[in-house]
Structures are given as structure tokens and as C-alpha cells.
């Protein structure tokens, strides 16, 4: 009697775990901290209705890439750590299309998914070891590795280096 009971509970727990995992496989876990980034549009994983919301931890969990480069807005070499666009799009099952990136100050720029390559741009959440406040281009800044490729030093790329990023809409 007792043996059967524990077996049922174990089964139930397994079921729950599976269900949770299944729920996770189907979508993402929910953000626990402040939501920094909201991705909408043609994505395969969501965790809030049609959108996917990410907090810092979640972003850190997806990817942690470091870029060291100079920029035209800063002085000297900057250390930037963030999630690479490639990893993010991969995590969200985005292979093609355009990322419409919007900033807190309503700045909008369209970034083609083709930019999201290995060794390409990152959504930086840490500048020189510290998180960026809103006053200093934070919390998220799409930075390209300008110094690694001369092609990244173009006006178009500069416009795509959106700071104070908070929303991305994936458009096909």
C-alpha cells in the first residue's frame, strides 16, 4: 500500500518534471529579474504569449562573448561582454529575415539576420566589467567587433550599433 503510493508520487513528479521540461522545450523559462530585452515576431520560442522576454541571467545563460574593440563613440579599447547575435537568433530559431531593433529612446534600426554570424555583433550587457546604466548607453548595446574587420567601420554598421536596446522584432 505504502509502496504503491510512493510509486504514484514518483510517477507524478516525473510527469511534472517532464511537463516542465516539455514546457521549456516548447518555450523558454520565464525571466526572474528585470526584463532587459523583449523579442517578438517570427520566433520559434516564446515565454510570454508571442514574445520572448529575457533578463540578464537568461541572456548570460544563452551566451557570453567578449569583444575588445575601439569605437567611434568611446576613447580607447573597450571590453564588452554580451550575447552574440548569432547565439540569440539560434536560440530563438531565427535563420533569416530582419531584426528590427528598437531603443528606449524609440530609435529604430533594421539589422539583417545575415549579420548575426560567429565573430559578429553582440548584444553587450557589460562594458569594461560593469553593467551599463541608461545614462551610458545601457542596459544593452549592440556592438560590432569594429577592429576585427574594416567592413564593420561603415556608416551603416554604425547605425546598427544601437544602444539602449530594449526591443527586437523579428520580421521575415
Amino acid at each position: 500500500m505504502i509502496h504503491q503510493f510512493w510509486r504514484a508520487i514518483a510517477a507524478f513528479l516525473v510527469g511534472v518534471i517532464i511537463a516542465t521540461a516539455g514546457a521549456n522545450a516548447n518555450g523558454l523559462e520565464k525571466p526572474k529579474g528585470t526584463v532587459l530585452l523583449t523579442v517578438s515576431g517570427a520566433i520559434s520560442k516564446t515565454n510570454a504569449g508571442e514574445t520572448a522576454r529575457f533578463d540578464l541571467a537568461m541572456l548570460e545563460a544563452i551566451d557570453s562573448t567578449v569583444i575588445e574593440t575601439t569605437t567611434i563613440w568611446t576613447d580607447g579599447i573597450q571590453h564588452l561582454r554580451g550575447v552574440s547575435l548569432a547565439a540569440l537568433t539560434k536560440a530563438l530559431g531565427v535563420n533569416s529575415g530582419t531584426l528590427r531593433a528598437k531603443a528606449i529612446n524609440d530609435y529604430v534600426v533594421e539589422i539583417p539576420v545575415t549579420d548575426a554570424v560567429e565573430g559578429g555583433p553582440i548584444i553587450a550587457y557589460e562594458l569594461n566589467g560593469e553593467q551599463m546604466p541608461l545614462r551610458n548607453k545601457g542596459p544593452l548595446w549592440i556592438v560590432y567587433p569594429f577592429d576585427t574587420d574594416v567592413a564593420y567601420k561603415s556608416e551603416q554598421i554604425y547605425t546598427r550599433s544601437i544602444w539602449q536596446l530594449d526591443r527586437i522584432e523579428v520580421v521575415q
Binding site: 567611434i72 563613440w73 568611446t74 576613447d75 528606449i104 529612446n105 546604466p133 541608461l134 545614462r135 551610458n136 548607453k137 574594416v150 567601420k153 561603415s154 556608416e155 554604425y158 547605425t159 544602444w163 539602449q164
Partner: protein, 841 residues
């Protein structure tokens, strides 16, 4: 290229190079600049400044609006305000920090605005960062403060704009300059390229021209070599054939393709000669000088493809090329030439053989005809000497005349044949012209007298009595001329003159003229009178007898002697012939040898013991009869062997030896007698021959003969021979002088010359006798010579006794016989006195 062109070329080249280098430097520098500019253009060193500056104003206004909204709203939600403030702050921070914006700081207005904005931010930050309460309370202040910097923000934007336009302009200018530089560089490069293209074109054209020239030359050379009729073969030092021209292909009957690369000797040289050449090649390779190369043409043998050998004329040359030595062989197939040579040689031999045959024919003819003639005439002569009645005598005389005429014909024809076949030999012996002519005149005097014609002869100018000439031929010519003159002159005069002259070349010649006052020569005959078989009127022919060959033979003889014969223009009556003969004056000789001695000159010959060796019975009998009639004792032998045997056993005074006999011929017999050491080993041997060839006669003399008689024999010839070789002469039988002879001389020379000569002769003789009387004055040789001289002179005046005496002394001196000399010397004085007397007119 001449020196000046070369110099100019070098100067031009140097200048060109310098200019080129300078241009290249400029282009390089420019290119570097362009590249740098392009690289700069490659990257954007700033983003849209205009955007940033205007965006700063927008975000300022956004913040301002939010501040006002927050004041109006009652809610305590100030997150939007804070956000807006942060956004504005971030923008201003960017403006401050971005290096690209540093250009803006140049402008003072910008600086002022920026500083004002910065002050506002600094003041407001603590309020924003504070709690909501503090913030709400200070909203009015913030709003007022913010409004204060409104103008500054505007100014910020406008200075940004001007800066932006300036930058944009500068950038455009930069781009323009860069493009310009790029264009210059490009053009410079293009020009340089164009120049080099032009240069290359020229070089190419030069090259093409040179190539054409080379090709032309090569073609020409090729044509020369391929059209050469001589084979031209080139091979390397190992003997491998490198080139084989068309002519070689033809000669060796091998295609060039099949021969190139093969060994030369194996293909062209007969196997038996190969080793020799291989050896030579090897020695050459080892450094010896090639004896076969560069040594002119050699005659070698080549071998054709089918194994035929052929004679070849080969010349080998060595050349040094970059790849080593090569041999160039020029080869000519001379089989045709060799064949031609052989044929020529054969033809020549045939011709020579033909000549020999002709000569033999002549000799045989001569012999065959003369021998029976000899018999005929000889017997006639004997017959004439026998007792005949008048009629018989006449018949015999006619026969003799005919026979002699026949003999003359034969002799003439033989002479002509001999001359025409080039066998006529001309003697060069000392000849006494005076005597020759005088004898001739003597022989003609009877005939002339019968016709009432007189003969005279003299020298014109300085006489040149002794000359080197051919007496027989000269005699023949003069005899012909004189006989003709006498023949055609009736009751007239024939004058003969001789004149000695100098030739242009410094020699001497004698010009004889025979002038007659006879019937002359018809004008139509004048041109052809020297031709063969040309006689006068046929009527005269028969009367005078003649072959018409006399003058033509005379002409032949004259030209054989190097002279000429001709006919003078007639002036008045008769004809005038002349003969010019080149001669050499010479010393008088010991023996006076006029073959034709006049019958008046009597030689006393007591009966000699004579051996006649002759195989022909008739001729032998004739000879014997003649000799016996002359009082000699004759022994006969009918062949050489018998004759030689007889000669060995018995000592004869004279041997007459026929040449062509069976068993042993005359020459062999003579040699046998001479070498046999028999009784007649020293006896004079005279050849009797029908063969009158000079070479043969010389051969007889070499065999040991002393003289030659030609058949048919005549009394006079025999008499002369016997007289000549008579040993014993007695002075009692010697007449003192020959008056007739003297008279003839006088007539011939003319009184004046005769007296002069007599004086000379007397003077000569006196001196000689004086010298001879003193013993030891003269040497034997001198005695010989002097006696000979005077004897000759004595002969002219018919002083026969003196002549013989002097001759005897001469022989004694020659034979170094003082006893004999003394004997004759003792007689000389008396003889001289007598002679001198006889000379007085």
C-alpha cells in the same frame, strides 16, 4: 652602329632612364598617397554627426516634455522622466566623449552650449538619482533649468550643422583630391604604359626586320648551299653528319634525312679507307693539327649508296662554333673529269702513235722508193760508162734524166711531207756562205753558159762569210732560185747578192737576192708562185721540167729556218727573188764541209781497200762497180754479220755500211766492229741509207759511224767520201792550185774585193809561217786553229797544195805528232812561195 650613333644612343638611353625613374618615383609617391586615402575612405571614422547633434536636441525636448508632463500628472510614476533624462544624459555624454565629435569643440559657440548643457546635467543628476519625493518637489526647478539651456541646445544643433557641412565639404574635397591624384597616377601610368608599348612596338619592328634579314640571309645561304653543284657536308668533331646538301644527296644517292646524325665515314667513305681517316680524326681530337683540313683540295675516293666508288675532289675546312669544332667538307664528283682525262690521254697516245706511224711510213716510203731508184740510177750510170754507140748513149742519157727527175720528185714530196708533219729538222752548223754560193754557181755555170747567160755573185756591204745555219737547206733554197733564174734567162745575166743586216732584236740575218734578166713572171702568177705545184706556162714546163714544188719547198725551208722568202716588184726585165735567213755569225771551223765538191777539185786518192756491206744485190753491185771504176779495191758482204766478220779479219781503209739489212743491220754491225777490236775497228764507216731522217743520222754517228751517204749513190758522192777519208795522200799528186777555182772566186767577188782578200790572205800566211818557224811560240791548239783559218782562206783561192799542207799540220798538232808536224812544216815554205806566185794576177 658607328661611334657617334652609339654615343647618341647611350645619351638618349641614359636620359630616358633618368626621366623614367623620376616619373616612376612621382607615380609611386602618388600611388602611396592614393592608397592611403583610399584606405582612409574604406572606414568611416565617424557616424552621422548631424544626426547625433540634432538627436541631442530631440532628446532634450523629449526630456523637457516629460518634465512638464510629470508636473501635470498627479501620479508618482517618474520612471519615464528618469528614462528621458538618462537618454538625454547618454546623448550628451556621447557628444562629449566621441572623438569624432571633437572637431566640434573648435567652435566657441559649441563649447559654450556644451558646457551649459553639461552644467544642467550635473545639477540635475543628483535630483534624478534621488527618491521620488525629492524629484517631484524639484520638478519646477528642473523644468526651468532645462528651459534655460534651450537656446544652447539650438546653438549646439546649428554649430553641428555648420561643422557637418564643413566636414562634408572637406570630405568631398578630400575625395576630389584623392580622385584627382588617382587620375594623375592613372594617366601617368597609362602614359608610361603607352611609351613602353611604343618602345616595344619599335623593338618588335626592329626584331621583325632583323629576323627578316636573318631569314633572308639564311634563305640565301640555304639556296646557295642547296643549289651548289658541289656537295657541302657539315659534320661535328665526332664525325656525325649535321648537314647534307642537295648536291650531296645526288652524288651519294642518299636522302639527307637518312644520313643526318649518321657517321660521315661510314656513309661516304669506302671501307678500306675508313681506318686511315678515323685515325686522322682521332689525332685531331687529341690536339694535333689536322693535316687534312684547310690544306686545299685532295683527291679521294667516295662511295655511293650502292657501293660504287668514285673519284672525288675534296676540301675540308675546320670551323669553331660555340658547340665545338665542326668540319665542313666540299666535295666534287670528278669521275667525269677523270674519265675525260683518261680519254684525252688515250687520244693523245693515239695521236702520238699515229704520228709515229706516219713517221715510220715516211721512213719506209723514203727507203722503199729510193732503194730501187738507187739501183736504177746506179746501173744507168754504169751503163753510161760502158761502150755505147751514139744512139744508145742518147737513150741512156734520157733514161738518166728521167730517173733523176723522178728522184727529185720523190725528194720534193718527202721534203714537203716532212715539213708538213713537223719533222723537218734544221741544222745549226757553221757554214761558209761564200763557198756555198760559189759551188752553186759553179754547178750552174755550164748550163748558163749554154744559154748565153752569165752569173755573178757578191756581198753588199760587210761580208759575213761564216755563219751558223743549215747549209743543206740553204743550198736547196738558193739552188732552186738560181736554177730557176738560169732556166728562165736566155742571153742574160743572173746576179746573186748577199747582204748582212742587224735585226730589231739585236740578231743578224742575211738577205740573198737572185736577180735575173730573163722572161720574168706573169703578173697573174706573182701571187701564187710560192704555192705547191705552181709552175709557169705548161709549154715551158715540158721544156724546163719541174714539179712546181721547188719554190714551195724553198718557202717551207725558209720558214723552217726562221726566215722568209719573197718576190720583188719587177723593175724592167726579169724576176728578183729574195731570201732572208736569220743567222749567227760564227767562227770558221776546222773542216770545210761542202757536200757538193766540184768535180774540178781533184783529190788524189790512191786505190783504197773498201768494204761494201749491202744486202740488196743490185745496189751492192752498183756501188762496187762505181768504186772499182774509181780505182779502188772493193770487198763485198751481203749482211752485217758477214761484214763485221770481214772487218775483224782484215783492215780496210773505208767501210760503206748499208743500214737496213737482215741478220744483222748496219748499226749493230758498226757497233760490233767498233767494239770488237778487230783489224778495222778504227776504220771510217760510212752509212748508206735511203732514210734521210736527221734523228736516224744522229743515231748512226752515235753508233760509231763517221758519215752518212744517202741513196741513191752517185759518183760524186762516192768520190767525196773516198776523198775525205783517204789516209795516204802524196804531195806529188797534189796540184798547187786550182786556177779555175781562183778565176771563179775572182768573178764572184769582183776585182776589188778579190784583191783585198788576196792581200789579206798573203798577210795572214806570212804571219803564220813566221810564227810556225819559231818553235815554242804557239801551242798545239793555237797551231791547230791558225792553220785551219789559213787553210780555209787558201781553199778560197784554190791554193790546194797549201790547203792540204796546212791541214796536215793541223792534224799533226791535234794528234800531238811533232815528227809529222816537222815534216809538213818543212814543205810549207816552198809551197807558200809557189802559191804566192800563182796568186799574182
Amino acid at each position: 652602329m658607328s661611334n657617334t650613333t652609339h654615343g647618341r644612343f647611350r645619351a638618349g638611353l641614359t636620359f630616358g632612364i633618368m626621366a623614367g625613374l623620376v616619373a616612376l618615383c612621382i607615380i609611386a609617391l602618388m600611388s602611396i598617397r592614393v592608397v592611403r586615402d583610399l584606405r582612409l575612405l574604406e572606414t568611416a571614422n565617424s557616424d552621422n554627426l548631424q544626426w547625433t547633434v540634432t538627436q541631442s536636441e530631440v532628446e532634450y525636448l523629449g526630456m523637457l516634455v516629460e518634465v512638464d508632463r510629470a508636473r501635470l500628472r498627479e501620479t508618482s510614476d517618474l520612471s519615464d522622466l528618469r528614462r528621458r533624462f538618462d537618454i538625454f544624459y547618454s546623448r550628451m555624454a556621447t557628444l562629449k566623449e566621441a572623438p569624432s565629435a571633437s572637431a566640434l569643440v573648435e567652435s566657441e559657440d559649441y563649447r559654450t552650449a556644451l558646457n551649459a548643457a553639461q552644467r544642467f546635467l550635473d545639477r540635475t543628476v543628483p535630483l534624478i538619482d534621488g527618491d521620488d519625493e525629492t524629484l517631484r518637489a524639484s520638478l519646477a526647478v528642473i523644468s526651468a533649468d532645462a528651459r534655460d539651456i534651450r537656446q544652447n541646445m539650438r546653438k549646439l544643433a546649428s554649430t553641428g550643422l555648420s561643422e557637418f557641412s564643413k566636414t562634408a565639404e572637406e570630405r568631398r574635397k578630400d575625395v576630389a583630391v584623392t580622385l584627382f591624384r588617382l587620375a594623375v597616377v592613372a594617366i601617368g601610368l597609362i602614359v608610361a604604359l603607352a611609351l613602353s608599348v611604343v618602345h616595344l612596338f619599335r623593338l618588335n619592328r626592329q626584331k621583325v626586320l632583323r629576323q627578316k634579314a636573318m631569314v633572308q640571309t639564311a634563305n640565301r645561304l640555304n639556296t646557295i648551299i642547296s643549289t651548289s653543284l658541289d656537295a657541302v657536308i657539315v659534320c661535328d668533331a665526332e664525325g656525325r653528319i649535321l648537314e647534307f646538301n642537295r648536291a650531296a644527296e645526288i652524288i651519294f644517292d642518299r636522302p639527307a634525312a637518312g644520313v643526318i646524325g649518321k657517321n660521315l665515314l661510314k656513309t661516304t667513305c669506302p671501307p678500306e679507307l675508313r681506318s686511315g681517316f678515323l685515325d686522322k680524326l682521332r689525332r685531331y681530337r687529341e690536339g694535333e693539327n689536322p693535316r687534312f683540313a684547310s690544306r686545299g683540295r685532295m683527291e679521294l675516293q667516295g662511295i655511293r649508296r650502292n657501293g660504287d666508288r668514285f673519284p672525288a675532289e675534296v676540301a675540308v675546312q675546320v670551323a669553331h662554333t660555340a658547340d665545338g669544332h665542326i668540319f665542313i667538307i666540299f666535295l666534287r664528283d670528278i669521275s667525269a673529269q677523270v674519265r675525260a682525262e683518261t680519254e684525252l690521254v688515250q687520244a693523245r697516245d693515239q695521236a702520238l702513235a699515229g704520228e709515229r706511224t706516219k713517221t715510220e711510213f715516211l721512213a719506209t716510203m723514203s727507203h722503199e722508193i729510193r732503194t730501187p731508184l738507187n739501183g736504177l740510177l746506179g746501173n744507168l750510170s754504169l751503163l753510161h760508162a760502158t761502150k755505147l754507140d751514139g744512139r744508145q748513149k742518147r737513150i741512156v742519157e734520157n733514161m738518166v734524166k728521167s730517173g733523176e727527175l723522178l728522184l727529185r720528185h720523190v725528194s720534193d714530196v718527202l721534203d714537203i711531207t716532212r715539213y708538213d708533219t713537223g719533222h723537218l729538222r734544221v741544222d745549226h752548223v757553221p757554214t761558209h756562205l761564200d763557198r756555198l754560193v760559189r759551188d752553186l754557181i759553179d754547178s750552174q755555170s755550164a748550163i748558163a753558159a749554154a744559154k748565153g747567160t752569165t752569173l755573178s755573185w757578191r756581198w753588199i756591204g760587210e761580208p759575213m762569210p761564216w755563219v751558223e745555219s743549215d747549209p743543206d737547206r740553204l743550198l736547196h733554197i738558193l739552188q732552186n732560185l738560181i736554177a730557176n733564174a738560169v732556166k728562165f734567162t736566155h742571153d742574160g745575166h743572173v746576179s746573186i747578192t748577199a747582204e748582212s743586216m742587224h735585226t730589231d732584236e739585236g740578231g743578224h740575218e742575211v738577205l740573198f737576192r737572185v736577180r735575173d734578166t730573163g722572161i720574168g713572171i706573169a703578173s697573174e702568177l706573182r701571187a701564187t708562185v710560192f704555192d705547191d705545184f705552181v709552175t709557169g706556162n705548161t709549154a715551158y714546163d715540158r721544156e724546163f721540167g719541174g714539179t712546181g714544188l721547188g719554190l714551195s719547198i724553198a718557202r717551207r725551208f725558209a720558214s723552217a729556218m726562221g726566215g722568209d722568202i719573197g718576190l720583188d716588184e719587177p723593175d724592167g726585165l726579169g724576176a728578183a727573188f729574195w731570201v732572208r735567213i736569220p743567222v749567227r755569225p760564227t767562227d770558221p771551223i776546222a773542216e770545210s764541209t761542202t757536200r757538193k765538191q766540184t768535180n774540178d777539185l781533184q783529190t788524189s786518192t790512191i786505190g783504197l781497200n773498201i768494204l761494201v756491206v749491202e744486202d740488196n744485190e743490185i745496189n751492192r753491185v752498183v756501188a762496187c762497180e762505181m768504186l772499182q771504176a774509181a780505182g779502188h779495191k772493193v770487198t763485198e758482204a751481203n749482211d752485217g754479220k758477214a761484214g763485221a766478220a770481214l772487218a775483224d779479219r782484215t783492215r780496210f781503209d773505208l767501210i760503206l755500211m748499208d743500214i737496213s739489212m737482215p741478220v744483222m743491220d748496219g748499226r749493230a754491225a758498226t757497233r760490233a766492229i767498233r767494239n770488237g777490236g778487230g783489224k778495222s775497228a778504227e776504220t771510217p764507216i760510212v752509212a748508206i741509207t735511203a732514210n734521210a731522217m736527221a734523228e736516224e743520222q744522229a743515231a748512226f754517228l752515235e753508233d760509231g759511224m763517221d758519215g752518212v751517204l744517202t741513196k741513191p749513190l752517185s759518183d760524186s758522192a762516192l768520190a767525196e767520201i773516198t776523198g775525205r777519208y783517204a789516209v795516204a795522200e802524196s804531195t806529188e799528186n797534189t796540184p798547187l792550185s786550182d786556177a779555175d777555182h781562183r778565176h771563179q772566186t775572182r768573178v764572184t767577188f769582183g776585182e776589188e774585193a778579190y784583191e783585198k782578200l788576196v792581200g789579206k790572205f798573203i798577210a795572214e800566211s806570212k804571219i803564220l809561217i813566221a810564227e810556225l818557224s819559231e818553235n815554242g811560240t804557239l801551242s798545239n791548239a793555237q797551231i791547230e786553229r791558225r792553220c785551219h783559218q789559213v787553210a780555209g782562206s787558201a781553199a778560197i783561192f784554190g791554193a790546194t797544195a797549201m790547203q792540204q799542207n796546212l791541214r796536215a799540220i793541223q792534224s799533226a798538232a791535234k794528234g800531238d805528232d811533232p815528227a809529222a808536224m816537222a815534216v809538213h812544216l818543212s814543205e810549207l815554205g816552198l809551197i807558200w812561195e809557189k802559191t804566192k806566185l800563182s796568186l799574182q794576177p
